[in-house]
């Protein structure tokens, strides 16, 4: 693809801390290469802000290769920006052209309060995992990897669900701020494997209970989550979780 340079206008949500009201600030950014990543473009702006003695834009990032799920940005009305099955860090500036205005907001959900600027507190997800997103293993030597046979179909479905990076885009996209795609990915991943079977019932019940406690909404099956998920997690997982939860609740004492 041909290389080109562009000038852009960024409209960015700035908020000093959790209690600050916050608001949008506009920034012109000049001489941006089409080969830069989106986060590199913000790095360029931040360098400039620091040089001018201003507070740089705070944003979450870690791996910058699409696997950690930290880079939460709601770009022009879509979590992780315009590309399909993509994280913000893997969005590149060739998606834009000279003169574009880009609006960047943090994830919006009561369960994800803003800490600063574009950074939100996603520890609610950690507490949901702590409530049941684990398996019991015997101590001692590691078992041989192939000691336990797993059907190919199930292994594939479990692996597809395990691809969830916990980024929270599903919550950001959902009109109800529901976390069901995330929870369903975590529950499906373990429910489909023999290793996950000892806690299969309590896992579904406890993770859903924690999700409700954290203040996420209920699911309306609109599909907005699936459309923005960088890892292509299917909403079929939500249907599976619904069954896991209902059966576990029905047979529980």
């Amino acid at each position: 693809m041909e290389h080109y340079m562009m000038n852009l206008t960024l409209k960015v949500w700035r908020q000093k801390n959790a209690n600050d009201k916050g608001g949008f600030e506009s920034y012109p950014v000049k001489n941006i290469s089409s080969e830069m990543s989106f986060l590199e473009m913000i790095d360029v702006l931040n360098e400039e802000l620091i040089r001018d003695g201003k507070d740089p834009i705070a944003f979450d990032h870690d791996c910058r290769e699409g696997i950690c799920g930290a880079c939460s940005m709601y770009i022009d009305g879509r979590p992780h920006g315009p590309w399909e099955q993509n994280t913000t860090c893997q969005l590149h500036m060739r998606a834009y052209k000279d003169g574009d205005t880009i609006t960047i907001e943090p994830w919006r959900a009561n369960a994800f309060p803003v800490i600063k600027d574009l950074i939100v507190d996603r520890s609610a997800f950690d507490r949901i995992i702590q409530a049941g997103g684990y398996i019991s293993v015997n101590t001692g030597n590691a078992v041989d990897a192939n000691a336990m046979p797993v059907e190919k179909d199930k292994a594939d479905a479990a692996f597809a669900a395990a691809a969830c990076i916990g980024c929270g885009a599903c919550v950001a996209a959902c009109k109800n701020s529901s976390a069901l795609l995330f929870v369903s990915a975590k529950v499906s991943h373990l429910a489909l494997l023999p290793q996950g079977s000892p806690e299969r019932k309590s896992r579904a019940l406890n993770m859903v209970a924690q999700m409700d406690k954290e203040g996420f909404g209920a699911c309306t099956n609109t599909g907005a989550c699936e459309a923005v998920c960088p890892k292509g997690i299917s909403i079929t997982n939500i249907a599976r979780l619904n069954a896991e939860f209902s059966l576990a609740a029905l047979v529980s004492q």
């Binding site: 709601y74 009305g77 609109t222």
Partner: protein, 222 residues
């Protein structure tokens, strides 16, 4: 887990919507089949026989109580979910996501449901209420419902309101039909495809047949 915990969890509330929704879908099949007797071209004889059975036999009258209970549960739980879900994002986005990834009617179940509710209030006070009050709400004498329809559907605005009600129902079901089965936990792709297709057919055909009833009276086809 207690029953109360199950049905007040986020998934449990959706189970209530789904089960009552499927119950209402089953009712629609009975309702549309019986009412289709208006097209028997016999001056309403067959239709009135059917209506008489539904109004004078104890079994459908007991089922009727269940229908109202189910409808009420669906409406109350629907509104509560709508308000609770809306409250989960105190601060909204400056740039709305809109239809990127979801259909407008799937995001408008509360509004579509409210439109259906407005229609139902009119519809119930047009037919069910005058008939049952004539019966003393027990098993007393009924009014001639075919004649009542004949009179009611001479007004153009009533016909338009009924058509609008049917269109709202069609959109509500276009999302609701398949959603109800996902909520129940159907995750098998083969069955989901089947339910999706059935849902689309049902959502278009049933409201269309309903809408043709007032139209038929207004146009003098029956």
């Amino acid at each position: 887990m207690k029953w109360s915990e199950m049905f007040t969890s986020s998934i449990g509330k959706k189970l209530v919507m789904s089960l009552t929704g499927i119950f209402l879908i089953l009712f629609l099949i009975v309702h549309v089949s019986l009412n289709a007797c208006i097209w028997a071209m016999d001056g309403g004889e067959m239709f009135n026989k059917g209506a008489h059975f539904m109004g004078s036999n104890v079994v459908p009258r007991i089922l009727e109580v269940g229908l109202f209970a189910g409808l009420l549960l669906h409406i109350i739980q629907g509104f509560m979910l709508e308000f609770q879900n809306r409250s989960k994002r105190r601060q909204g986005y400056a740039v709305a996501m809109g239809s990127k990834g979801s259909k407008w009617y799937s995001r408008s179940m509360g509004i579509l449901g409210s439109l259906i509710l407005i229609f139902l209030v009119v519809h119930i006070s047009d037919f069910w209420f005058p008939n049952r009050s004539n019966q003393g709400f027990l098993l007393g004498e009924e009014i001639n419902l075919y004649d009542k329809m004949q009179v009611t559907f001479q007004e153009l605005w009533v016909v338009i309101l009924y058509i609008a009600g049917c269109i709202s129902l069609a959109w509500h079901l276009l999302h609701g039909f398949q959603s109800a089965f996902r909520t129940l936990g159907v995750s098998n792709k083969k069955y989901l495809a089947l339910l999706n297709a059935t849902g689309i057919g049902f959502s278009i055909i049933i409201p269309f047949v309903f809408a043709m009833m007032p139209v038929s009276f207004y146009m003098g086809w029956v």
